[in-house]
Every structure is written in structure tokens, then in C-alpha cells.
């Protein structure tokens, strides 16, 4: 979208940039000062001079990026960068995820990062911020994406595991290692006591959440060798999507697979994933939540990121809002 001279955030080859504060938000190339919304790989990359993060998100960045120059702030705690006053506010996406509020000369911009509006026991809920310009994610920006109640999905997962158990099969549930896995473990606590087994790539992130005091279902790890006797029959196993079709899967002699993601809302996506079951659990805003958040921001101008927001931009335009797009390199993983 064409930039005005006094825009607080502009798109540059290195990422979203705030000229008045001389910092970037979630840049994809190395820069001096990076305000990071959350720890997912497409938003938090290595190589920045200094990382500004929420205090709740610090352990996640430390896990993903190792030792760096971090400046951590509580939600709502303002700090100065150049001519701007910056503060971080809960986005409800994953542990420590934040919206970036930027204020300069009476104008307020908010960069949402990734967010969702459904309750999530593993992180602080999205806190709407009034602003002049709202830079919003738009990963699921079509009206077909409307999330079911998470508790109902958790019950379905438990029922699926029981079905697998009755057939002597393991139930391998693919999900992203940061956020989704922990949210599932937290949600499942209300519906089962049976521990879940974790793929190595997921176990580390689960420990980070536990250390931060998030209550999760008890877990074990998937051993190198299949246990004697029935193998993993009846076990619920959480694994990253990259494990699908890998040699790691061979240890499960009889197995059903499933994927937990907002993308599972559409059956064609499920078929393309080649999984038996799809569970609709998303850490992003669905269509009604995008519209609700845009409305609550009271912004007069909306800029969408993540590359799938054309329909949303057109609709907002028809409703009389100034709406445009920032080309970003954020992914569509969920």
C-alpha cells in the first residue's frame, strides 16, 4: 500500500520498519533493533543486534535463538525507541505473544503479530487496543474459517484415541511444536488423565511451558525402541508435521495419523495432508475474529499481512475503510 511520509510503519526489504523509532518488527533480515511479537520461526529470526520482547516470551526466544541481547518488558510497560513510545500487549497466539503498540506525536499504530480470540489456557488473552492504524495478520481470511469450540475438539481427540486403542493402533497427532502442542496438552487435561507421548522436537518446548508455570497433561517421551508387547497401541503421540512420512514413523506398527490445525476446516486440505483425521484447532484468528478485532481497534486504516488477505481488504474497502496490504514473508503454518 502506498506509504505516507508520516506512516509509523512501512514495508522494507528487511521487514516492517518504524522510521520514527528506527526499529523493525519481526524482520526477516538482520537489523540493529528488532521488536519481536512471538517466537515462531517466521517472526523471530537469528542475527538481530538487539531483541525487544515480552517478558513472558523471553524463555521461548532463549529456547529458539539461544543467548542474544534481549530487552524484556512486561505487557503494557512502555519503553522509548527513537521518537516513539512502544508497548507490548497480549495477542493470545502462543505463550508470550504480543501486539506492538507504537505511539508518536498523538498517532497510534498497532502491529498485531499473530493472534487469536479463542480462550487458550497457555497464554494471556488478546487485549484489544484502540489505534489509528491496525496492522493485522490475515492467515485465515475467508468466511469459511470459523473455529469450533476447543473443548468439543478436545473431546473428539480423546474419542479418537479410544477408537485407535480399540483397534490396537497408536494415535499420532501432528501439531506445531511451539504453541499448538502445549495448548492441546492443556486443553486435554479436562478430558483425560492418560499421559501423552512426545516426539523429541516437541518435548523441549513443553518443558519451556512447564517451567513458565503452565499446567499441562503429564507426558512421556517416545522411546527409540518400541515397547515390548503391544507397541504403542492406544497411545496418544504428539509429533511435529515434519515427522509425517519420515523413518521415525516406522516404530508405530499399527497407527492412525491426524493433524491439528485451522487448515483442517476444509476437507481438501485434509486429503492433501494424507492424514486419517483433521482436528480444527487454530492459534490464529478466524474470519469472525478478524472482523471483530478490526472493529474493536476502531482504526480508520487497516493493513493486512501474511499474504492471504485480498478478500478481506476488498470487503473492508466496500465497507468504507482504508484497507491495504503489506507484503511480508510470514508463513501460513498453524
Amino acid at each position: 500500500m502506498p506509504a505516507d511520509a508520516d506512516d509509523l510503519v512501512i514495508a522494507t526489504p528487511a521487514g516492517l520498519y518504524c522510521p520514527a523509532g528506527d526499529f523493525h518488527v519481526d524482520p526477516w533480515q538482520p537489523v540493529a533493533r528488532a521488536v519481536i511479537t512471538h517466537g515462531h520461526g517466521d517472526h523471530a529470526r537469528p542475527g538481530m543486534g538487539c531483541y525487544y520482547t515480552s517478558a513472558a516470551g523471553l524463555p521461548i526466544l532463549q529456547w529458539r535463538l539461544g543467548a542474544q541481547d534481549y530487552r524484556a518488558f512486561d505487557y503494557g510497560e512502555p519503553f522509548a525507541l527513537g521518537r516513539t513510545r512502544v508497548s507490548l500487549h497480549p495477542a493470545g497466539h502462543v505463550l508470550g505473544s504480543a501486539q506492538v503498540r507504537i505511539e508518536c506525536g498523538g498517532t497510534v499504530w498497532v502491529v498485531s503479530g499473530d493472534y487469536k480470540r479463542q480462550p487458550d489456557p497457555t497464554c494471556a488473552p488478546f487485549a484489544p487496543q484502540s489505534c489509528d492504524v491496525f496492522v493485522t495478520e490475515a492467515t485465515f481470511a475467508l468466511p469459511v474459517y470459523r473455529w469450533p469450540e476447543t473443548a468439543a475438539v478436545a473431546r473428539d481427540i480423546v474419542a479418537w484415541r479410544e477408537e485407535c486403542a480399540a483397534r490396537g493402533e497408536a494415535a499420532v497427532l501432528f501439531c506445531y511444536a511451539l504453541g499448538k502442542a502445549q495448548r492441546l496438552l492443556a486443553e486435554l487435561r479436562a478430558h483425560t488423565d492418560q499421559p501423552a507421548l512426545l516426539h523429541g522436537a516437541i518435548a523441549a518446548g513443553v518443558e519451556v511451558y512447564r517451567a513458565a508455570g503452565v499446567e499441562l497433561l503429564p507426558t512421556g517421551t517416545v522411546a527409540e525402541q518400541a515397547p515390548r508387547g503391544g507397541g504403542y497401541a492406544g497411545a496418544l503421540v504428539l509429533a511435529p508435521p515434519s515427522a509425517a512420512g519420515s523413518p521415525w514413523m516406522r516404530r508405530f506398527r499399527r497407527v492412525q495419523t491426524a493433524f491439528a490445525s485451522g487448515w483442517m476446516q476444509v476437507r481438501g486440505n485434509r486429503r492433501r495432508r494424507h492424514v486419517e483425521r483433521g482436528f480444527v484447532v487454530s492459534d490464529h484468528a478466524d474470519w469472525p475474529a478478524l472482523l471483530q478485532s478490526i472493529e474493536q481497534s476502531r482504526a480508520r486504516r487497516i493493513i493486512v499481512t501474511h499474504g492471504a488477505g485480498d478478500a478481506l481488504v476488498r470487503l473492508l474497502g466496500e465497507r468504507g475503510l482504508a484497507a491495504g496490504t503489506f507484503d511480508t514473508r510470514f508463513g501460513s503454518e498453524d
Partner: protein
């Protein structure tokens, strides 16, 4: 509808055939007969409403959902393009109601859907949007699939029949036979279907056709040629000729009765002994001609319920008999082919009517001689050879091993993709039905529609290309920029006055995507016309 939706979900989720069969058995064991009969109808590919009694067109459904969900038409269309399947799109755009709907399937269909079929738009809209308001998302998906006629869950006819046979403790062949032809879904039909006794309705029913599979391996791998009966593969209409008591019935392989359309064949059949069922090929073949007329001649006959003398003289019909399925009222299908054929030969000899002839055995000393004969098929006006194991029983459906069709390699041309339409079933989300054209002067003339031949990956790629290169839309059809070239194969090319191109192709299919060719390099119409007979 709840129980049927649960069946749909179970079938949809299971990949193993044994799981699907168990789901079907469970359903038919517990469902009330009035519902089960409709479930059977739907699983067998039956539609609700239909041409003369429509409930909702896709345009109406898209408009109604836009009104109900308060979305502009372009956004609804955007959603459909994203999701692919119309029924699924409709079900995703609404929120679930608070209450559960427990109305039985047959009430939904008989008292509601069929009650408004063919009525004015307001009544149909009220019913459909009213249903959307009370059904949950899984129910809406199935309901919408009833409206769009696309309820397919990877269940073959045979699997349904296996489940019913298991449930009723009766032979699957009897189930299959009873499900042939037109039937009315209702508890009465279901009871008759599962009846262990012969019923009156069984008398006019054909047997399920045994279909040959295409021979892919070299013919030499079939072993001693002496174990095989070789016949020409005729390009006509496969049929069963039934003579039981006073009853004479002609059934096409498409499970349609052809009664009245071929009076000369019915007259000839009166000379057959009672209790006799013959499997054969219907051809248009003048008495003095050495070869049958092309298939297009027969097509003019199928459409006429009462052909006049002129039509009868222009395209006289003849049956080349392949097989004897019933003899003196007894089911002979389990007997070996050579025995059935001997009896068939005797019956036809006694009948001595030129309109009922034995399909001649083709003599070949070895497989290379047989291959040479197959290569002569095109000039003989046939499609190739049929290879049937002499010891084979007459099975049901397409079963590999005993009967093979050994067709000529197809004729081929390079043609340009002009139009695309979305497919059905598994491919409903993709543009998979293509129309191709050839050059006449400097314009492209449509010559063939083809549905198959590309790999799944190519279909996906082409689908994306089609969406990005659409020039115009006519309902479900998209015109695309004429840029992509495909090699098309045909079995036969005939001259035809009914087609704009002046020719009609039989069994067109895509052989490969010619990415190496530009549209300008595609073939001219004259090339195809030169192949026509």
C-alpha cells in the same frame, strides 16, 4: 438424518474396505427400513429430485447462502474457489444452531425435499434455508450434497451389495441382479431385495454384466492360446436379451430397458426357447454389408422409441451373441464358457434368424498371429479382440483375470484446451473435465471432451493454471486462454452431421500434456477428418 450422517462420516473417514463394509452392515442392521431404503438409493448413486423436479441449482444455492450469511456474491464465489466443493462451501459459511435436529432421513427427503421439488423459487428457498438453520455442520454437509447430487464416499456398488448380502444371508449375485434397472426406494423394495425367496419381480431382471478388463501385460503372458476364446470386440451396445415365459426384455449395460426401440430384435427373440438369457452386442448392420455401420448409426436408433420403416431400413439392427447366461430357466453362469457357448450355438442354429448371430470365434495359432489380427481391427470396423478363458464362469462386474479386452492403440491428435468444468466426487474441487479444439482456418473448433488421462499432480497443476487463465465463465464452465496443448487418443473417429466439427470421436482420453508444443503447433481439423470413416 443423524444416523445417516454418522454413516457418511464413518465411510468418509475409513480407508480400509473392511471398515467401510462393517460400517454399512451396522447401518443397514439398525436403520429403520424407510430410511435405509433412501440410504441405499443414495449410496447407489441415486439423486433426489432431478431434471424435471429440481430443488436448487448451484446459482440459487450460492445466492441464497450469500443472503443468509450476509456476504457479497464475489466473496461467496471466492470461498467456493478456495474450498472447491459447493456443498462443503455452503456448510462452512454458517454457524451451528443451538438445538439438535432429529428428523429422520426419509422425512427430510419425502415430506420436505420432494415436496418442494419443481415448485417456485420462494418455496424451495424457504425449505433449503430453513434446513440450514436447524442442521449442524456435518448434517448440512450431507444435506447440501443431496441438493448438489454429489454424495460420494468411495463406496462401490459391489461393497454395498456385499454388505447387504452379509446382512441378509443371501447370495451377492441375487442382490446385484435385483438392484439392476430402475427401482423405487422404499421399505417394499428393501424387503424384496433382501428376500431369500425368488420373487415375481426377479423374472424380468437381467443378470449383472461381466465386464472385461483392458489387457496391459503382453498377451504371451496369458499362456497357451488354446485355453482362450478369441472374438472381435464389436463397437455397439452391450445388451442382455431376456426370454422368460411371455416376457421379452432388452437391457443395455447402462441398466436401461430398450423395449420398443429395436422391434426387429424383439421379433427375432420370440423364436428363442423359453427361459433363455443371452449376452451380446447390438449393432447397426445391413443384411448385405460385410461390416457393421459406425456407432453413430446405432445412436440414431437408441433415441427413437418407435422407429419408422425408414429408420429401420437405414440402420437395421442385429445382435452378435457372446454368451448364454440362462438356459431352460436355469442359471448357467457358473458353468464354463465353452459349455455355455456350445449351447448358445445350438440355440441360435435352431432359431436360424440372421438378426441373432453367434459372435464368431477368431482363429489364431499363436499370440503373434492374434496380434496381427488385432492390428487389422480398424479396417474390419471393430475395436480389437476379446480374450476369454474357455473355462471361465460368467462373473459379475469388472473382475480381472478371465476376460480381457485387447484394443487397438488409439488414434491420436494434438489439441488445445478450450474449456474446463469441475469434476465430480473425489475430483469435485478441481477442474477435471476438459474440452479440446483443433484448428480450422485460424479458429479453434471444439472436437472432444475428455475426463481422464492426467496424473493427480498434473490435474492439480492444470487446475491452478485454469483458475489463473480463465477468460470467461458460463455457469460451471470456464473458457481459458487457448495455450495448453494435449495429445488426445481416440478409439474411433466417425463423420457426424450432429457435431459442429463434422466428426464424432469415440472414447477420447488425454494421453499426455504436450508442454513442448505451442497452440499454433496443434493439429488441424483436417487431420482428424482424414482418420474418420
Amino acid at each position: 438424518m443423524r444416523r445417516f450422517v454418522a454413516l457418511y462420516r464413518r465411510l468418509d473417514r475409513s480407508t480400509a474396505t473392511s471398515d467401510k463394509r462393517a460400517a454399512l452392515v451396522d447401518y443397514f442392521r439398525t436403520a429403520p427400513p424407510a430410511d435405509a431404503a433412501w440410504a441405499l438409493w443414495l449410496l447407489a448413486g441415486g439423486k433426489i429430485g432431478g431434471a424435471g423436479a429440481r430443488i436448487a441449482g448451484s446459482g440459487e444455492l450460492l445466492a441464497w447462502i450469500g443472503e443468509v450469511a450476509n456476504l457479497p456474491a464475489w466473496l461467496v464465489e471466492e470461498c467456493r474457489a478456495h474450498v472447491g466443493d459447493l456443498a462443503e462451501t455452503l456448510s462452512l459459511l454458517l454457524d451451528d444452531p443451538a438445538a439438535h435436529d432429529d428428523t429422520p432421513l426419509h422425512v427430510w427427503i419425502e415430506d420436505r425435499l420432494l415436496a418442494v421439488a419443481g415448485q417456485d423459487a420462494a418455496a424451495r428457498r424457504e425449505l433449503v434455508t430453513g434446513a440450514w438453520a436447524v442442521l449442524d455442520s456435518e448434517q448440512r454437509l450431507v444435506f447440501n450434497k443431496l441438493l448438489t447430487g454429489s454424495l460420494r464416499v468411495g463406496v462401490s456398488q459391489r461393497l454395498v451389495q456385499q454388505a447387504l448380502a452379509e446382512l441378509g444371508g443371501i447370495d451377492i449375485a441375487l442382490i446385484a441382479q435385483r438392484m439392476l434397472g430402475a427401482w423405487q426406494p422404499g421399505p417394499g423394495f428393501l424387503a424384496q431385495l433382501l428376500s431369500p425367496q425368488q420373487t415375481a419381480a426377479d423374472r424380468a431382471q437381467p443378470y449383472p454384466f461381466f465386464l472385461a478388463s483392458p489387457l496391459e501385460a503382453p498377451a504371451g503372458t496369458l499362456g497357451d492360446i488354446g485355453d482362450w476364446l478369441l472374438e472381435w470386440k464389436w463397437d455397439g451396445i452391450r445388451l442382455q436379451l431376456i426370454r422368460r415365459g411371455a416376457e421379452i426384455a432388452l437391457w443395455s449395460r447402462g441398466e436401461e430397458r430398450l423395449d420398443g426401440r429395436f422391434p426387429e430384435i424383439e421379433a427375432a427373440a420370440r423364436q428363442l426357447p423359453h427361459g433363455c438369457v443371452i449376452d451380446g452386442e447390438l449393432l447397426a448392420w445391413p443384411a448385405e454389408a460385410a461390416q457393421p455401420l459406425p456407432f453413430t448409426a446405432l445412436q440414431t436408433r437408441i433415441q427413437r422409441r418407435k422407429p419408422g420403416p425408414k429408420v429401420l431400413a437405414q440402420a437395421p439392427a442385429r445382435v452378435l451373441a457372446y454368451d448364454l447366461l440362462e438356459c431352460e430357466g436355469e442359471d448357467w453362469r457358473a458353468r464354463p464358457l465353452h459349455q455355455r457357448r456350445d449351447a448358445l450355438q445350438q440355440i441360435l442354429a435352431a432359431c436360424a434368424d440372421p438378426r441373432l448371430q453367434l459372435s464368431p470365434a477368431v482363429a489364431a495359432a499363436d499370440w503373434s498371429q492374434a496380434a496381427a489380427l488385432r492390428d487389422s481391427a480398424r479396417e474390419r470396423g471393430v475395436e480389437g479382440l476379446m480374450l476369454k478363458r474357455r473355462s471361465s464362469p460368467y462373473q459379475a462386474g469388472r473382475r480381472r483375470g478371465a476376460w480381457w479386452k485387447w484394443k487397438l492403440d488409439p488414434l491420436s491428435v494434438d489439441a488445445v484446451l478450450l474449456y474446463a468444468q469441475s469434476g465430480s466426487g473425489r475430483r469435485s474441487t478441481l477442474y477435471t473435465d476438459y474440452t479440446f479444439g483443433l484448428w480450422r482456418d485460424d479458429a479453434l473448433v471444439p472436437v472432444a471432451k475428455a475426463y481422464s488421462g492426467l496424473s493427480d499432480a498434473e490435474i492439480l497443476e492444470l487446475d491452478r493454471w485454469i483458475r489463473a487463465h480463465t477468460t470467461e465463465r458460463y455457469g460451471p464452465v470456464r473458457a481459458v486462454q487457448p495455450l495448453q496443448v494435449f495429445e488426445l487418443g481416440f478409439e474411433v473417429v466417425n463423420r457426424s452431421s450432429r457435431h459442429k466439427s463434422g466428426i464424432a470421436v469415440r472414447f477420447p482420453r488425454v494421453l499426455r500434456w504436450r508442454r513442448d508444443k505451442t497452440a499454433a503447433e496443434a493439429d488441424r481439423l483436417e487431420t482428424l477428418q482424414a482418420l474418420a470413416r
